[in-house]
Every structure is written in structure tokens, then in C-alpha cells.
Symmetry: C2
Subunit: 148 residues, 2 copies
């Protein structure tokens, strides 16, 4: 069995995707992170949901978390302010998370070996350099334990 | 709004849970990781799905991933061998992942501040030291963007 056969569709955004749209995808599909591709649909990075949360936390609270208890402000109050006219590019961390890439014809064991070595929960599957889907660690476990 | 109101049930295992049972939970619920609690139901760590995958990758392949291409073995072939008579304790990494903990009466902004600072996708919510649920980063985004 090869990567192509077990890859699943996974939402992707580009560096120029609107920040709010990316946040909505993460929220509505309850994802821990979303794949970022470049203009040629080549996998570039992962935007973790926690990084978007980070964008919504006021900087004075990030500097002093004890302030969070005493100020009366919700995350929702920040969305319009913080995600308007902002793109995914601006939300990515300074050192973007590396997204491991496997080839469509890699075997399941090759995919597992890469995941094991890099301790990552997600790999992108590419064919002719373009992303065709993704494989999560839990998907691999589902294959390993078929009746679960 | 407080942590208690937004916490969701999240599967937990103990250090003594059977490895196969933990793997089945991860696979069937398609989780990136599962919460490990101690005997008093206090949050202890997270067992990442990628760590369970790691347990299934033969050590000679971990040492030399290029071997994965040439050997004819599936992950499923390894399950019986590797997960029988093994507990969660033995699958945890040498340096277990820290699981951030918040109190049931922490505000949403406090939870977000902790998540932002530690860049973690998941926090455990405790009341009287026992776990009552968990909050993911995507759950926080769902609250921030209510109509998504």
C-alpha cells in the first residue's frame, strides 16, 4: 500500500489567504493545524491553531499572563481587530513549522518511519511536487489496527 | 466565560492502560494525542499518536529509514508483536510531553494566554486537582468566531 492510497484531503491555505478564513477553517473543522502551500501548490508549512490563538491574545497579556484574570475582554472581541486585513503570512511564526513531505509512491512503512523520526503528527503527500493530500499519525494507526 | 464551561470530554488513559487499547482510542477517534492521567485522575502527560506509530516502526528502520523501501512488512504486521503485554507507560517518550493544566474557573483569556505562551494545541482542565475535560486551540477559535 502506498501513500497515495491512504492520503486524505486536508484543508490548505496559501500565504495570501485571509487570516479570518484560515481561522474559520481551523475552527469549523476542529483541526490542530492547517497546511500552508505556496503558489505552485507545493507544501510549505503548517499554521498551528495555537498560533492563531496567539494572534488573538493581547500583547500585554502575552507579556504578563496574570493580567488575563483582571481584564474584561473576550477573544471574540479581538477577532475583528486582529484578523482584518491580515494574511496567513503575517500569522506564521518567525520560524515556521516544518511540514514533512512524502512521495505518492512511498510505502506505509516509509511514511511511518518519517513520522516516527520527526515525531510529527502530519505529513503532506506530493505527486509531481504538488500536494495531493495528507496523512495523520492517527490515520496510520487506523490502518495498523483495522477493526478499531 | 470560564474554562469549565468550554471544556470538552477528552479520552484519557492511565500509565497502566494496555497499549493496544490506547492505540485503538487514537485510531478510532482520529486524535493527534491522548491524555495520560495518574491514579488520582490528575493530568500527567500526553501520548502523541506519532509516538505510538514510532513503537510500530522496526528499530532497524528507525536507524536507517531507507530500509523501509526495500522490506516487505506492513505496520499491521507489527501490532500484535509490539503492543501485546505493553502499557502506556512503556510507550511514553523518555521525556514525556508536558500537558498544560488550567483551573476550572480560569477565564477564556487566561486559557488562551497559556496556550499562546506554551504554543500547545491542548490544555487539561482540572477541578479539585482531578481532570474534568480538555480545551483544544480549535475549540477556542470556535468560541472566538462563533458563526464558523
Amino acid at each position: 500500500m502506498h501513500a497515495e492510497q491512504i492520503a486524505e484531503t486536508y484543508p490548505v491555505v496559501t500565504m495570501d489567504t485571509d487570516a479570518r478564513q484560515a481561522a474559520e477553517l481551523l475552527a469549523s473543522q476542529r483541526l490542530p493545524g492547517i497546511i500552508v502551500v505556496d503558489k505552485e501548490q507545493r507544501p510549505y508549512s503548517v499554521l498551528p491553531a495555537s498560533q492563531v490563538v496567539r494572534c488573538l491574545v493581547p500583547s500585554y497579556v502575552q507579556d504578563d499572563p496574570s493580567l488575563a484574570r483582571v481584564i474584561d475582554e473576550s477573544l471574540a472581541d479581538r477577532v475583528a481587530d486582529k484578523l482584518t486585513n491580515v494574511t496567513v503570512r503575517q500569522m506564521l511564526p518567525d520560524e515556521p513549522t516544518e511540514l514533512p513531505v512524502v512521495n505518492y509512491d512511498d510505502t506505509v512503512l516509509e511514511v511511518a518511519a518519517i513520522m516516527a523520526r520527526l515525531r510529527c503528527p502530519l505529513v503532506a503527500v506530493v505527486k509531481d511536487k504538488e500536494i495531493i493530500g495528507a496523512i495523520t499519525a492517527s490515520r496510520l494507526l487506523q490502518l495498523a489496527i483495522p477493526h478499531s
